[in-house]
């Protein structure tokens, strides 16, 4: 059995699965249930300024019969009294001393407010602080949340205030509502943050009600941009994570990966791309806390299968596999192959390639089943047919190198090799 225990800046947890700062971590009742279910840690719902929420608050994107591919909210930070939150945090730590307790903060935009809040939170015995520089709605209008995260200078200033007061590890949570997370990441690392976490939610409109013509979520005939999360944002989160894991400056601090983690596979992918642990919100909000069982078991089984004993054995292993386009090997070539024994003759590969790709699939009409085969000479190896094929392992991509040696774009040009020759 692999060891899945995690150590994030000295904050220990029995597994690398934390609940992200959000409604699941909003009070003692939820957090105790989460710990009972087996979650390794929580980032307590953001504490700070005084707020007032509206109704409704959430909306979602469904896809092809599946619910909540993407999730959207217009909620603010914690709307409960600060002293009750602090009291409950203390009680949770006492009842589950082996779990990670990190508290998310968003104070008013001045040094005193931050110092005061940090002092109060540290008194609870919490193990770490997470700075919410990411909330994209409601708080930004008041110069907080994403408004901080989007401006490297302001972010730097706030982190400096925090570091003056904090005696426990500080994680800075980044907003994805920027073209690159690296500038803010660098500036907060420079200001002394001990770690980064990303991503917070992405500004979005999930849809429009076709009867009322009002976008979602509905609040008395109006709506606002909300924060998007859930499975739909995972690819974006992984991209941002990779840029942080590859940057010389930001890669020095550990990263907590967030954004669409729904199962052990997602978690492993985040960790392979540099996250030391992961945080989950939407998946728990969709299914409840019990999903952590499958996450722990799946991670364990995968590690055993791969021969990894501890998390550190594989964290970051895929980071350098994402390179620059001009470094790719142009002589690499693969061609699709359709396994006729597995083919169910749905024709999806054919129509995709015929209408939108390279007309590389041959059709022989049959009644009722047509036969589809690859025209090797026309196939550019784009993967489209394999991606749309509904049958596991029916279409495989077979390697057929153009030439044995590695030649990249720069070399290709240098040698005057043919361009636009397809």
């Amino acid at each position: 059995m692999a060891d899945i225990s995690s150590n994030f800046l000295g904050i220990k947890s029995p597994n690398p699965f934390w609940l992200a700062s959000a409604p699941p971590t909003d009070k003692k009742y939820n957090v105790l249930r989460a710990f009972e279910a087996g979650w390794g840690g929580v980032v307590w719902k953001t504490l700070g300024s005084q707020v007032k929420n509206v109704s409704s608050r959430y909306s979602a994107v469904d896809y092809h019969g599946g619910r909540v591919m993407g999730f959207n909210n217009i909620e603010l930070i914690s709307d409960r009294p600060l002293d009750i939150n602090l009291k409950e945090i203390k009680e949770c730590i006492k009842l589950f001393p082996d779990r990670a307790m990190v508290v998310s903060l968003m104070a008013d935009n001045n040094r005193e407010s931050w110092h005061e809040l940090i002092k109060k939170v540290e008194d609870t015995g919490a193990h770490g602080l997470e700075l919410n520089f990411g909330c994209p709605h409601g708080m930004t209008e008041r110069g907080m949340g994403a408004a901080v995260g989007q401006d490297p200078e302001i972010a730097c200033m706030v982190v400096e205030w925090v570091m003056e007061a904090a005696t426990i590890p500080v994680i800075t949570k980044l907003t994805p509502n920027v073209h690159s997370v690296v500038p803010t990441g660098r500036s907060v690392v420079k200001a002394g943050t001990n770690a980064l976490s990303l991503i917070n939610t992405i500004q979005s409109v999930t849809g429009v009600d076709l009867d009322t013509l009002v976008p979602n979520p509905y609040v008395a005939g109006k709506s606002v941009f909300g924060g998007y999360c859930g499975p739909a944002v995972k690819p974006i989160a992984l991209k941002f994570l990779t840029t942080i894991a590859q940057d010389e400056m930001t890669k020095k601090v550990p990263v907590s990966g967030i954004g669409g983690v729904s199962n052990w596979k997602d978690a492993v992918e985040f960790m392979l791309l540099g996250a030391s642990n992961v945080q989950v919100c939407t998946a728990a909000m969709k299914y409840g806390f019990r999903i952590v069982e499958d996450m722990c078991e799946g991670l364990n089984n995968w590690m055993d299968e791969k021969g990894f004993f501890t998390l550190d054995d594989f964290i970051g292993k895929s980071v350098d596999k994402i390179t620059h386009w001009e470094d790719l090997d142009i002589n690499y070539h693969h061609i699709a192959k359709i396994n006729q024994d597995k083919c169910i003759h749905c024709g999806l590969c054919y129509i995709a390639c015929e209408d939108t790709s390279h007309q590389s699939i041959r059709i022989e009409k049959g009644n009722p089943y047509n036969t589809y085969t690859i025209i090797d000479s026309a196939c550019v190896g784009c993967n489209l047919c394999q991606l749309v094929c509904p049958v596991d392992q029916c279409i495989t991509m077979e390697e057929h190198r153009v030439a044995p040696e590695y030649v990249n774009w720069i070399e290709w040009q240098k040698r005057g090799l043919p361009l636009n020759d397809h």
């Binding site: 169910i344 129509i351 059709i363 009644n367 009722p368």
Partner: protein, 446 residues
């Protein structure tokens, strides 16, 4: 003993309730609609004789466009609602669905088709309108699926259609033949009315070709004629004792059952059903559901050669019908003019015959069943007399047509069971479409 009124009202109701219940709600329909892969050049569509664009109509259900879905169906098959209840889908669309190749349940195409079309009928969504009057008149004989489908296409093109129907109701065997647990008389009537709602189609009921009017009359008064009169009575067995009381024709038996109400239909204690086609299955299962104590089906070949599908055979078996393969009726024994016993020859399979199936050969051995009712369902006989009388080219009464659906008489077209000798409703609907297209060409419209 042969008697009617064997069951309580509730028993009749339960026994004849819908054999393929519809989706209970939108979510249920969408779960299945979303399973559909949206195949290209879809095998299911090729399996449908009317070539309904199945992936499209299913996608429209998945995307909340039920109107669009119903339109897609009706555009290819104006009896799409009825077909969704009566098609032997296991050998048509669903039998070809690619999921079968994954050893998975096929998409419930008919059930989804029913979901969309039933909504259209309930809400009276009308999708078709008539073009400006074409100034042509066409006569159709028979208001069955072939005749109605032909009439609808013609009417859309502005042709005035008159249908001559010998019965009191339209729908043909849909109304008078198909098992009551598949379609109700009310549904059949609604479906006919839904089709007629386009206008331009008049049905003259209780008007029989050969009795109330002649083919010459139609030819003289109309620009073209379409013959869609189906096939007639059940094939005679030509064995001694066939005239005894208790030997009935399956078509007659089912006709009465559909026309007169279940309690008034008499059945025996032990019923023998001869044949193994769709009609035989329907007769056997419905005899059982009317309260017969024992029903035995007899077929002169084996399960390999049976004309019905496995799904249909299973319905009969689940209803408790017994099946004897390789048995051919030889003689009916009776007393006081009533059926008492059926003597059968035991058969074995010989060389393949013209149909490609191995033909049954008498072994010389016999066995005897104690029965008080015998239902003959060994195929139906075309209206050979009428067809010959009007000098229509035919093969054993099945009207011969060319690729243009034309008979040997100029301006006279034909299709459906009357031509193919008896297939499915959906084949007749397609035949009606083909006939209409040919007539439009003949009349130089469209």
């Amino acid at each position: 003993m042969i008697e009617s009124n064997r069951l309580t009202e509730k028993q009749y109701k339960d026994n004849f309730s819908d054999i393929h219940p519809p989706f209970e709600n939108k979510t249920a329909a969408q779960v299945d609609a979303n399973r559909c892969l949206f195949c290209f050049d879809a095998p299911c569509t090729k399996g449908c004789p009317t070539s309904i664009d199945i992936p499209k109509f299913i996608k429209q259900i998945a995307n909340d466009d039920i109107k669009g879905s119903a339109h897609t169906i009706f555009k290819s098959n104006i009896m799409g609602a009825g077909c969704s209840k009566v098609c032997p889908v296991e050998k048509l669309c669903e039998g070809a669905c690619v999921y079968n190749l994954l050893e998975e349940k096929p998409i419930p195409i008919a059930k989804l088709q029913r979901y969309a079309t039933e909504k259209a009928m309930t809400n009276q969504w009308q999708f078709f309108s008539r073009k400006a009057a074409a100034g042509k008149k066409v006569a159709i004989v028979g208001a069955g699926p072939a005749g109605l489908s032909c009439a609808h296409v013609l009417s859309r093109e502005g042709v005035d259609v008159t249908i001559f129907e010998k019965e009191k109701k339209g729908g043909g065997l849909m109304t008078y033949g198909i098992a009551a647990y598949k379609v109700t008389p009310e549904f059949c009537e609604d479906e006919v009315n839904y089709i007629l709602a386009i206008g331009g189609i008049e049905i003259k009921y209780e008007q029989e070709l050969g009795k109330d009017f002649t083919l010459a009359y139609l030819k003289k008064n109309y620009d073209a004629v379409y013959l869609g009169m189906g096939v007639g009575v059940a094939r005679q067995l030509n064995i001694p004792g066939e005239k005894l009381e208790g030997v009935v024709d399956a078509i007659r038996f089912i006709y009465d059952l559909r026309d007169k109400g279940f309690p008034s239909i008499p059945v025996g204690d032990h019923v023998a059903v001869i044949g193994m086609g769709m009609t035989a299955i329907d007769a056997a299962t419905q005899a059982k559901r009317l309260g017969a104590k024992k029903v035995t089906m007899l077929y002169r070949r084996t399960q390999e050669e049976m004309p019905c599908t496995q799904v249909e055979l299973d319905i009969a078996k689940l209803d408790g019908c017994e099946i004897i393969w390789l048995a051919s009726p030889q003689r009916v024994k009776g007393s006081k003019g009533k059926v008492k016993q059926l003597v059968c020859s035991k058969m074995k399979l010989g060389e393949p015959d013209t149909s490609g199936r191995r033909s049954p050969i008498d072994t010389g051995e016999t066995f005897t069943l104690d029965v008080d009712m015998i239902i003959k369902a060994a195929g139906q006989v075309p209206y050979e007399k009428i067809v010959t009388k009007y000098k229509l080219d035919n093969k054993y009464g099945k009207i011969t047509i060319n690729e243009q659906c034309a008979t040997n008489i100029k301006g006279v077209f034909a299709g459906g069971d009357a031509v193919n000798g008896g297939k499915e409703v959906v084949d007749a609907v397609q035949a009606g479409k083909d006939g209409a297209k040919a007539i439009l060409k003949f009349l130089k419209i469209a």
